[in-house]
């Protein structure tokens, strides 16, 4: 069984996890200002929106689909939150409305993909523009900043005496739910099957369309939750909130070893990818690495994330091959007649 442990060791999600640990340890040791509670809470707080969306996105990508409209959905729910708040509605009513709106956004994506059979990449590029556009119509040029302070404090504050933002605790709960759902329930199992071969999954009696619809809806819900969190965390609801967040999520999830062809990957890897990118950016900023160089580093990491496992596999295959290779031929080759 040496092979199993070998392949396990070179699995990319494990590597990303290890890398995260190494980066954290090195930073604690050598980077000024990294290890204190304030910075850590900044780091986690700023990474949370990406991590929140990465949860459903991982599930979606495992099942072979993608949703690029997540950032726009977040922006839209933030915008609606701002607009309703300006109307004088109570925040306790507004937030559920926003979440419901996210469900609707996700449902629209899901219906377009499952009922019309459109490719999700194309559909969500479309809804990415549409949702952002609606956000612009809803809120226009307003920037709403006067949300009640107890909510702002929850979204931006941290548990007294620790570095943990309040919002990190609910996230951990969601993470646990997502991990169990993907890796231990029949639903998760069937998502892997759908991602690897949709037709075979359908022939195995898996309700492919329904499950995809559920996933898209969940993604919408989580995106709007992120939108609400974003508006409160940054105390600012604008129509262009979270612009470009989809690319960060996709980059982080890819870095975590989720295969965009579907059917592969672990949630742990994806979340490790999210926090690895977040930590690296934090450290590089502290070390005065310019934004431009940070972009290059992100790019190089992405390329490595796909090249490295490939190379590792090649090496391990070569090794296994050498072990299994027959001993040098004992008999001389038959002479040609």
């Amino acid at each position: 069984m040496a092979d199993t442990s070998l392949t396990r060791a070179v699995r990319w999600d494990t590597v990303v996890g290890a890398l995260l640990v190494v980066v954290l340890l090195l930073s604690f040791g050598f980077v000024d200002g990294f290890g204190n509670a304030l910075n850590l809470s900044f780091l986690i707080g700023n990474t949370l929106p990406i991590a929140l969306i990465a949860l459903p996105m991982t599930l979606l990508v495992v099942s072979g689909e993608i949703d690029l409209s997540v950032a726009s959905t977040a922006g839209l729910s933030g915008a609606v939150m701002g607009a309703l708040w300006n109307q004088g509605m109570t925040i306790e009513v507004i937030i559920p409305i926003c979440l419901l709106l996210g469900v609707v956004c996700g449902l629209v994506n899901g219906l377009l993909v499952t009922r019309l059979g459109l490719p999700s990449l194309a559909v969500t590029i479309g809804t990415m523009a549409a949702y952002r556009g609606i956000a612009q119509i809803v809120l226009g040029s307003d920037a709403v900043t006067d949300f009640p302070s107890q909510y702002l404090d929850f979204a931006a504050g941290r548990v007294d005496g620790t570095f943990l933002p309040y919002a990190f605790l609910p996230f951990l709960v969601l993470l646990a739910i997502a991990v169990v759902a993907l890796h231990a329930t029949p639903l998760g199992r069937s998502l892997f099957a759908i991602g690897a071969s949709e037709e075979a999954a359908r022939f195995a009696g898996i309700r492919v369309k329904r499950q995809k619809l559920i996933l898209f809806t969940l993604t919408g819900l989580m995106s709007s939750l992120t939108g609400v969190f974003w508006a409160l965390h940054y105390a600012s609801a604008r129509y262009d909130n979270a612009t470009g967040l989809e690319l960060s999520v996709v980059a982080a999830v890819l870095l975590g070893g989720i295969d965009f062809d579907g059917g592969k990957g672990t949630l742990g890897g994806a979340i490790a990818g999210v926090f690895l990118l977040g930590a690296l950016q934090n450290v590089m900023s502290l070390q005065d690495v310019s934004a431009q160089s940070q972009i290059v580093v992100t790019g190089v990491l992405l390329v490595l994330s796909v090249l490295a496992p490939r190379v590792a596999r090649q090496i391990s295959l070569a090794r296994a091959g050498r072990r299994a290779a027959p001993a040098p031929p004992s008999k001389a080759p038959a002479p040609t007649p």
Binding site: F34, S141, D146, R238
Partner: protein
């Protein structure tokens, strides 16, 4: 409170908008040396901000303090800007000079910084007043809005349709100027001047380009365009100079001399204006140092001396006005290089 006991906008109205101030100013305090001021522009690599920040760097060198610049490479990455504020806080700089991408989003982080004894100066784009010590305004909104309408009216002989090509719909300073332009247009002497449309080019060359095309197609009688943004005016000028409208449709607004030199010379544009961004940066730097030295605290009415630039008085809400913008024409444009 409302009937159902939830929280509404009404409930949170009490917080007043006032510049953050602390302690008492000592106008005669020694100007400290060896301070570090972190500049955080809206966008790094943006030529306008680069000139401004260079102005700040020069001033700091003179004052014996050190300068650093950080920032995002996108002008709309608010989250990125927040994390840079956090980083500067972590690095314990003495003051931050920031041009805010969003009036509210930076607040928590900036307050956090001020709590850690860091002075905060905003320049070019302000945040909510309570999130900074002082704001360096490039020119009063009044000056900018009114002079542009006056210039345009003069060029088109006080008669005809005009339009505005702005940046993003959310740009706070743009919107303030546009309001003042509309107000100025109420003056009876502009009774024949009609503002037909405000278009938004999002500070994107290509979008501004197409918005200009759209304006001209939709309003065939358009006589002039005011574009109070450097990206917008440049794109509009480039489109006009390559189209049949060149010279017929007037263009004015805010632009940099280097961008606009060609169009002034080839007759597309008669005049445009701008403040000197280097001076803006310099004043931001000097204000930051004055704050750190305790010479001012950001209260209305305090005065301080800003080197060669002379004496400045802090206005309402901690706003400091840079002064009147410069008008550039074919005659003087070659004297400037920024």
């Amino acid at each position: 409170a409302t009937a159902c006991g939830g929280t509404t906008k009404e409930d949170v109205k009490d917080e007043g908008a006032k510049a953050a101030t602390a302690g008492k100013a000592d106008p005669n305090a020694e100007t400290k040396k060896g301070l570090t001021v972190g500049f955080l522009p809206k966008q790094v690599n943006n030529p306008y901000f680069t000139v401004a920040d260079k102005g700040g760097e020069k001033a700091l060198k003179e004052l014996g303090s050190s300068y650093k610049e950080v920032g995002t490479s996108s002008g709309t990455d608010t989250a990125g800007q927040v994390s840079y504020v956090n980083t500067l806080t972590q690095q314990q700089v003495d003051a931050i000079a920031v041009s805010a991408q969003d009036p509210g989003a930076l607040c928590t982080a900036l307050k956090q910084a001020m709590k850690n004894d860091i002075k905060v100066v905003t320049y070019d784009s302000d945040t909510n007043p309570e999130c900074r010590n002082a704001f360096i305004s490039q020119a009063s909104a009044d000056d900018i809005g009114r002079t542009q309408v006056q210039q345009m009216a003069e060029q088109i002989g006080n008669k005809g349709e005009i339009a505005i090509l702005s940046a993003a719909q959310t740009a706070t300073n743009q919107n303030a100027w546009i309001e003042i332009m509309k107000d100025e247009l109420k003056d009876p002497k502009y009774k024949d001047v009609k503002l037909v449309k405000v278009a938004y080019g999002d500070d994107d060359a290509q979008k501004s380009f197409q918005q200009t095309q759209g304006l001209l197609q939709e309003h065939p009688n358009l006589k002039g365009i005011i574009s109070p943004t450097t990206v917008g005016i440049k794109a509009a000028a480039q489109y006009l100079s390559g189209s049949k409208y060149k010279g017929k449709v007037k263009l004015t607004g805010l632009g940099t001399p280097n961008d606009m030199r060609k169009y002034v010379k080839n007759g597309t544009v008669e005049a445009f204006e701008l403040w000197d961004p280097a001076k803006l940066g310099e004043l931001a730097a000097r204000t930051a140092v004055a704050l750190s030295s305790g010479q001012i605290t950001g209260k209305e009415g305090e005065t301080f001396k800003a080197g060669d630039m002379g004496e400045y008085t802090i206005g309402k809400n901690g706003v400091i006005d840079l002064g009147k913008p410069t008008v550039f024409t074919a005659d003087n444009v070659d004297q400037f290089d920024f």
